[in-house]
C-alpha cells in the first residue's frame, strides 16, 4: 500500500474511533436506560451488570401503557407499593403533550407577529425590545417561578394545565421572539413590497410570503419551545399538585417515592419521554440549523 494512503487511512480510522467513543459517552445514559427498561427485575440487579439484556422483555412498557399498579417482589409474593405512578403515566403523557403544544402554539404565534411588527413597522422602542427580551435569561428561572405562582393564585389557575401553559409561554416567548426577530430581519422587504404591488393585502403578504419564507425560523423557535416545555420540571412542580394534572417530568419523580423504586418502570418511562423529542429533533434538524444560523449571523 502506498505510504501516503496508509497514513490517510490510519488518520481516518483514528477520527472515527474518537467520534465513536465520544458518541458512546454522550449516549451512554440513554443506552443504559433503554437496556434497563428491557430487563426483568432479577437481571436489573444482577452482578456483574449486563448492558445487553439476556432475556429482553417489554413488560415494563406494557405496564406503563396499560397502567398496571406498581409492585415489588417479596419472596414469591407481589406487594403493591404506596404510590402508583404507572397508573397515571398515560394521563401525564397526555398532559405533557397538551402543555407543550399549547405553549408552543402561543409562543410561535405571538413571537412571529411581534418579530414582524418590530422589523417592519416604525415605533418608539422597537429597536431595544429584542435585546430586553433576552435579559430574562440572564437570571435563574426559579426567580420567576414564585411571582408567577402568585399571579396564578390570583387568577385561580393553580393546579390547572393552563397555568403551566402560560408559565411556559413566559419562559419561551422572549427567546422565540428574539430568534424570529433575527430571522425576519434576514427576509428582504422587497419580496413583501412586490406582493403588495401584485395586489396582495397585508394579511395575504404575511400568509403567502412572510410565513413560508420564515418557516425555518419558525421551526427552530418551535423546537426550542417544545424542548423547554417538555423537559421543564420546576414550573410543573410548583404550579401543579394533583396526580391527575401532573406532567411527565414531575410525575416520573414519583417513581422514586413509596417503599420501593421500580427501576425497570422508571427507565421505560424515561425512554418513552425521550423518544418524542429524539424523533422530532431528527426530523427537523435541518431546519434547526438554518434557523439558528440566521440568528447567529443577523443577531
Amino acid at each position: 500500500m502506498n505510504p501516503d494512503r496508509a497514513h490517510r487511512m490510519l488518520g481516518l480510522a483514528a477520527t472515527y474511533l474518537v467520534l465513536l467513543a465520544t458518541t458512546f459517552l454522550v449516549c451512554f445514559p440513554l443506552i443504559w436506560a433503554l437496556s434497563t427498561s428491557l430487563k426483568g427485575k432479577a437481571e436489573i440487579f444482577a452482578t456483574p451488570p449486563t448492558l445487553i439484556p439476556h432475556e429482553p422483555t417489554i413488560d415494563n412498557y406494557k405496564a406503563l401503557i396499560t397502567g398496571r399498579p406498581q409492585y415489588f417482589q417479596s419472596g414469591s409474593e407481589r406487594v403493591a407499593t404506596g404510590s402508583a405512578p404507572a397508573e397515571f403515566f398515560g394521563r401525564w403523557f397526555l398532559n405533557s403533550i397538551i402543555v407543550t403544544v399549547g405553549s408552543t402554539l402561543i409562543s410561535i404565534a405571538v413571537s412571529t407577529l411581534a418579530a414582524y411588527s418590530i422589523t417592519r413597522f416604525r415605533y418608539f422602542g422597537r429597536r431595544i425590545v429584542p435585546y430586553l427580551s433576552i435579559l430574562g435569561y440572564m437570571v435563574p428561572s426559579i426567580i420567576f417561578v414564585f411571582p408567577l405562582f402568585l399571579v396564578m393564585v390570583r387568577l385561580e389557575l393553580t393546579d390547572n394545565l393552563l397555568s403551566l401553559i402560560l408559565g411556559y409561554v413566559s419562559l419561551t416567548l422572549p427567546f422565540c421572539m428574539w430568534l424570529m426577530w433575527a430571522f425576519m430581519r434576514s427576509i428582504p422587504i422587497e419580496i413583501e413590497e412586490a406582493a403588495l404591488i401584485d395586489g396582495a393585502t397585508r394579511l395575504q403578504v404575511f400568509r403567502d410570503v412572510v410565513i413560508p419564507t420564515a418557516l425555518p425560523g419558525i421551526i427552530a423557535a418551535a423546537i426550542f419551545s417544545i424542548i423547554v416545555s417538555w423537559n421543564d420540571y420546576l414550573f410543573g412542580r410548583v404550579f401543579l399538585n394533583s396526580l391527575d394534572n401532573l406532567t411527565l417530568t414531575v410525575g416520573v419523580m414519583l417513581f422514586f417515592e413509596g417503599t420501593h423504586v421500580d427501576w425497570g418502570l422508571l427507565m421505560a418511562a424515561c425512554v418513552l419521554m425521550t423518544v418524542p423529542m429524539a424523533v422530532l429533533f431528527m426530523a427537523l434538524q435541518r431546519h434547526l440549523v438554518t434557523g439558528f444560523g440566521a440568528g447567529a449571523v443577523k443577531g
Binding site: A194, A195, D198, G199, P212
Partner: protein, 359 residues
Amino acid sequence: MDVALENIGKSFGRVRVLDNVTLTFPSRKFVTLLGPSGCGKTTLLRIIAGLETVDRGCIRFGDRTVNSMAPKDRNIAMVFQSYALYPQMTIRQNIGYGLKVRGVDRASIKSAVERVAGILEIDSLLDRRPSQLSGGQRQRVALGRAMVRRPDIFLMDEPLSNLDAKLRVTMRTELRRFHFDLQATTIYVTHDQLEAMTMSDCIAVMNAGVVQQFGTPAEVYNRPSNLFVAGFIGNPPMNFLTGRIEMNDGKAKFKMNDFALPLSEPWTVASAGREVILGVRPQDITVGSDHSEMALCGTVWMTELVGSEKLIEIELGGRERMTAQVRADAPVPESGPISMCLDTRRVHIFNASTGLAIR
C-alpha cells in the same frame, strides 16, 4: 396613462431626499430617472409605486390623484433591483401570484402565465424555484411577473444592475422591445448613463433630490442645462475651464490666461466681463502642435487606449488636467508638449456662480 408629480417633497428624519420635484411622465413613453447614488431617484419611484408616502405634493395617474391609494389599487407593476421573487413559490406561482390574489380563475391564470413565459422564453422553467435559476433567468421571471397583469405603468428599479456586462446589453435591447410591444408608460431608474441614453424616450437627470434637467437623450447630452448635467452625462466626462468673457472689437472671446477662444454672439451680450466656466467634451478636442492664441497648450500626462479610441490626459499649468479623445491610430506623443484646439461650435458656457448654462 401619463404620470404627473407636482411639488413632491420627502424627508427621512432630517435628511431631505426630494425637494419640490415637479415632473410629468408622458403616456406610453419610456422615461428614465438618472442620477448618482443617493440622489432620490429610487425614493421617487417608490413614491409613485405607493411604497412611500409624500410629505407634500400631489401624484396624479391620468386625472386621478393617487396620494393615498394603496399600491395594489394603482394598477402598476414593478421590477426590483434584487428581482424580489417569492423564494418558496415555483416560477409559475411567482408569475401568477398577482392574478391569484386578484381572484382570477385558475384556467385564466394558467394561460396568462404560459403566454408571458412563452414571450420571455422561460416556459421550460415554470416548475423550478427562483434559487434554481441564473441571474438572467430570474430577471426574466421578474419581468414576466410585471407583464402578466397588463399594468398601466411599469416601474423598474435598476433591474439590470445585477447582471454581467454581456447579459446587460442583451437585456437592454429586450426591455426596449417589450416596451414597444406593451406600450405602457415605463419609469426606469438607473445610475448608468449608457442605459439611460440607449433605452429612453426621455431622461430626468436628478441630483440631491432635485430634477436637474428633463429632456430627450439628445437634449441632455447636447444642451446640458447646468454644470451637474454637463459633468454627469457623457463618457469620458466633460472638461471644464474657468475664465472670463471678454469683448474685443464687438466679438466675444473666452479668455483664460494666454488662451483666448472666440465665441459666437448669443452668449456674449449678457455675460461680458463675467466669470464663466467653459465646458468641452473630450470628443470635441483635436490635438496637434498649433501654438497660436486659440490653441490650449499643455503636456501629455498619460495616454490610454480604449479600443478604437485613445484618451489623452493633458496637464495644463498646475494640477489642472483635461482629457481629449482621438482615434486610436492618431500620432500622439507619449509625453512632452501638446496643443489642443476646441470645436467652438460644440463648447458650453456656464455661469460660474449659479452653474446654469448661458445660452
